[in-house]
């Protein structure tokens, strides 16, 4: 008899709600939760069945016995491993204080538990991967609205026009969002796509601007200029809810459409027509403010402009625009009990300087890469331990060599993950988490027009000697003397403890896998949005008080990006719909679909270099070389070469992924501390590489 188990996918960080069918202790079927996703799921979701059966993942706790990265491990019991980690942490805590431990996780709906662990331990240094991802967008959003990047959701399905600046929304897949985009297009919506290359997203566009790499900011400035010139903005909304419009208009005056078109390499008429079109479609026009925008030196300002364009469209809290994500409170329901409600945030400066040295950055997760600096300089104090949960800094951050140099100052490196991460391979202890079908997780709140509580139940028993993260953190906390932060010892007790204030029971989740908190979407009265914007002035700020007070200009004069010297290219990277960065490269099914990445290069440029389709090419950074096959296309800007991120892995136990393809982050030497001082994001597309036909291409072959 098949049994339904409600869960949430763990193949990427989107965490789509799923329904799992289990028979005789085996997963037979996974589909998107029919009540939310109508069954839809992406390739990665279905490939979870292959991951579950794959023995090429850590099967029990491992303690390093050889040198770091040498790959010599002693398999140990959970008790031995946890005692070992606790003893090491205790030693560091005794010598340097608990603040010498950094705790990093991948963010998302369950990070509160990790934060509680970090604070319970006594360290303020809780962090995540985001300085190599969405920090610029987040901080840009805070500067405009006083709200973070999750301060709005986008009602794309009902929009009349969606504009994506490199946001590859149909390949960096979120199933529900992709359906919204397709629904919008089915309803006759317009879709403008801006990128240095054509993507799976761009082929669905109704308008495509192929821009010179690094000129997004110029295009956004030109758009603002033209919107103001054509008076295509919502005057009433600007008047009612914003400050600093005059200063904005004054600043963009120098950046007119002609200038922007020339700078970006596009047609001016196309740009002007675009503005005329959105002027007739607003407020149902959404400028996606970007997701992974740790790219260029001015990505923060580009994202600010995209947020500003949304404001000019007046698209706040309207159908087909940006909407405030509604909370349980909006439904008259008390929120879940937070794990961090049991602990006090340590009254200590963060070692990454966020909150005191850098006051304009969000001190929640801070900025991971700045801990490396602290490890090396011991300023403001020494960092001696790093625990990474579901986070692989060696894949996420650039310049792995520099990272290793910094980590050599640490006495303890722990990786808690379902798979071998490259960081895990270099660490001292691997604590293997059960893959998502084999574990339960705390209940999460999903905010939105119709907020809900949702959970992940255990579908099947773990195949190997692995544990769910809640149990790992609970057992570690017990050993370190703060087990009372997690006052439960079974998942049922944990859920009941979380749910207590809400009045719901875990049985309420049985029918649909979640508890809806409202039947109808909730909208605020658009005429009464006062108090919703959390800026110092309470208004949407074109001139940001927060930035100005910290000596950072609200508007930065545009600087044209450097052109790569002859024979060199700007290395840009992105996503494929069949892989979630490095997480899935070794998955048998997904590896079969896409075993390695290629280097996209402009056809005409390739011809000059004597490179043909499928040739091996060497991609040369400073000291690192990657060799992959070339893919020639006319639809990439000649200044750029592109590859899919996550490949070129060097964990020998991942036989499929081992040295398959090329790693962009290993070529990004020197970028580890190249931070945008205004946005906090790294500038990962500011690397020029040399491309040449590789000597690996056979000229002739001799067989004896």
């Amino acid at each position: 008899m098949k049994k339904t188990v409600w869960s949430m996918c763990g193949m990427c960080s989107v965490r789509c709600p799923i329904r799992v069918e289990v028979e005789h202790g085996e997963v037979k079927w996974i589909e998107g939760n029919p009540h939310i996703l109508k069954g839809s799921l992406c390739a990665k979701g279905s490939a979870a069945q292959a991951l579950q059966k794959d023995p090429e993942r850590p099967q029990q706790p491992l303690i390093r016995v050889g040198g770091r990265g040498a790959g010599k491990w002693e398999p140990v019991s959970w008790y031995t491993a946890l005692d070992y980690v606790a003893e090491k942490i205790d030693k560091i805590r005794g010598k340097y204080g608990a603040r010498a431990i950094v705790m990093s996780c991948r963010g998302g709906p369950w990070q509160d538990m990790i934060k509680a662990f970090c604070f319970g331990l006594g360290s303020p240094n809780f962090t995540n991967h985001d300085s190599a991802c969405g920090r610029n967008v987040h901080h840009a959003s805070k500067s405009v609205y006083g709200l973070g990047r999750k301060g709005f959701i986008y009602d794309i399905a009902n929009a009349k026009h969606l504009i994506c600046f490199g946001r590859n929304i149909l390949a960096s897949l979120r199933v529900a969002e992709a359906n919204q985009v397709m629904d919008m297009l089915d309803n006759g919506g317009s879709f403008t796509y801006v990128d240095v290359r054509q993507t799976l997203t761009g082929i669905k566009a109704t308008r495509f601007f192929q821009v010179r790499p690094g000129t997004d900011y110029a295009l956004a400035l030109g758009m603002i200029n033209e919107v103001i010139k054509q008076e295509a903005y919502d005057k009433e909304f600007i008047e009612r809810y914003t400050t600093g419009f005059d200063k904005l208009a004054e600043f963009v005056e120098q950046y007119d459409a002609n200038w922007a078109a020339k700078e970006c390499g596009i047609k001016v008429k196309k740009l002007k027509d675009f503005v005329t079109e959105i002027g007739s479609q607003r407020p149902k026009v959404i400028f996606h403010p970007g997701w992974m925008l740790s790219r260029y030196k001015d990505s923060f300002y580009a994202s600010r402009c995209l947020h500003i364009l949304n404001v000019l469209m007046g698209n706040v809290e309207v159908e087909g625009g940006q909407q405030f994500p509604k909370t349980p409170g909006d439904c008259g329901v008390k929120g879940l009990r937070a794990f961090s409600s049991n602990v006090k945030k340590p009254d200590e400066k963060r070692a990454d300087g966020v909150g005191w040295k850098y006051k304009h950055f969000d001190a929640g997760p801070g900025l991971f890469h700045l801990f490396y600096e602290a490890m090396v300089t011991e300023d403001p104090y020494p960092i001696k331990g790093l625990i990474c949960y579901r986070h692989d800094p060696f894949t996420c951050f650039p310049d792995v060599g520099s990272q290793k140099d910094a980590l050599d100052n640490c006495e303890l490196l722990v990786s808690i993950d379902t798979h071998y991460s490259e960081f895990g391979w270099y660490s001292d202890v691997i604590l293997p988490e059960s893959m998502f079908l084999e574990r339960e997780t705390p209940i999460a709140t999903q905010k939105g027009p119709k907020p809900r509580f949702i959970y992940r139940d255990r579908a099947i028993e773990p195949r190997f000697n692995t544990k769910p993260s809640w149990e790992i953190f609970k057992m570690l906390a017990d050993r370190l003397g703060f087990g009372d932060v997690f006052p439960f010892s079974t998942p049922e007790e944990m859920w009941a403890w979380q749910l207590e204030p809400t009045g719901y029971k875990i049985e309420d989740f049985q029918e649909k896998g979640f508890v809806p908190l409202t039947d109808k979407p909730i909208m605020y009265d658009r005429d009464k949005l006062d108090g919703k914007f959390k800026t110092p002035s309470g208004k949407i700020e074109f001139v940001s008080q927060m930035l100005e007070e910290n000596g950072i200009p609200s508007f930065k004069p545009y600087e044209s990006p450097k052109k790569p010297p002859k024979g060199r290219f700007r290395l840009v990277f992105g996503r494929s719909p069949v892989h979630a960065h490095s997480h899935t490269i070794n998955n048998p099914y997904l590896h079969e679909l896409m075993p390695e990445n290629t280097l996209w290069i402009n056809k005409r440029v390739a011809a000059r270099l004597g490179i043909e389709e499928g040739d091996w090419v060497d991609v040369v950074g400073d000291s690192q070389i990657g060799t992959i096959r070339a893919h020639l296309t006319e639809f990439i800007h000649p200044e750029a070469v592109y590859t899919v991120h996550g490949f070129g892995r060097q964990v020998p136990l991942q036989s499929r992924a081992y040295h398959a393809g090329m790693s962009d982050q290993k070529l990004q030497e020197g970028l580890l501390q190249m931070m945008d001082p205004a946005g906090g994001g790294l500038c990962l597309c500011e690397k020029f590489v040399t491309v040449r036909r590789s000597p690996r291409n056979p000229r002739r072959r001799v067989e004896l």
Binding site: C42, A178, Q198, A205, F208, V578, P588, Y589
Partner: protein, 150 residues
């Protein structure tokens, strides 16, 4: 009489290859056989936007299939509703079916040593469900269509 068809709305297809994996996972197939496939034309610029069309291909479930009569053991069969399928118990893995098929549709399953092909997930269809690829299609671009005579 052929009763069913799988139709791809290329406008909604985003080329995510989800269907291919949904199929493999449902049939518990090893690396190797792929029972349905998404392909696309090279990109062509249409009014300034590089575009392409996606194609979905699984078995055509021919009305008069070549693979059925050539099967030496009677494993390859056609149902009344037109679904062409392999009865796994009878299959000896000789792959004569693949040779007879103009498109080489039947594939060898290295895990079982037998032929395997798209059967529209007939176990699901018989329960009133849709094939795996259609049920889970990321953007609901695939449709399972029941044909009617006009």
């Amino acid at each position: 009489m052929k009763k069913y068809m799988i139709y791809l709305n290329s406008k909604r297809c985003i080329g995510c290859h989800g269907c291919e994996v949904h199929c493999k996972a449902n049939k518990d197939l090893p690396v190797g056989p792929l029972l349905c496939e998404i392909s696309h034309e090279p990109l062509k610029s249409i009014r300034g936007v590089p575009k392409t069309e996606f194609h979905f291909r699984s078995c055509y479930h021919c009305e008069d299939p070549y693979c059925v009569p050539i099967c030496p053991t009677g494993a390859m069969q056609q149902r009344e509703d037109g679904i062409v399928f392999v009865e796994q118990e009878k299959c000896i893995g000789c792959m004569a079916c693949a040779g007879a098929c103009p498109w080489n549709i039947p594939q060898f399953n290295p895990a079982t040593g037998k032929a395997v092909k798209c059967d529209y997930c007939m176990d699901r269809v018989d329960q009133g469900l849709k094939p795996a690829c259609v049920t889970k299609c990321t953007t609901r671009a695939l449709k399972f269509v029941t044909l009617t005579e006009i």
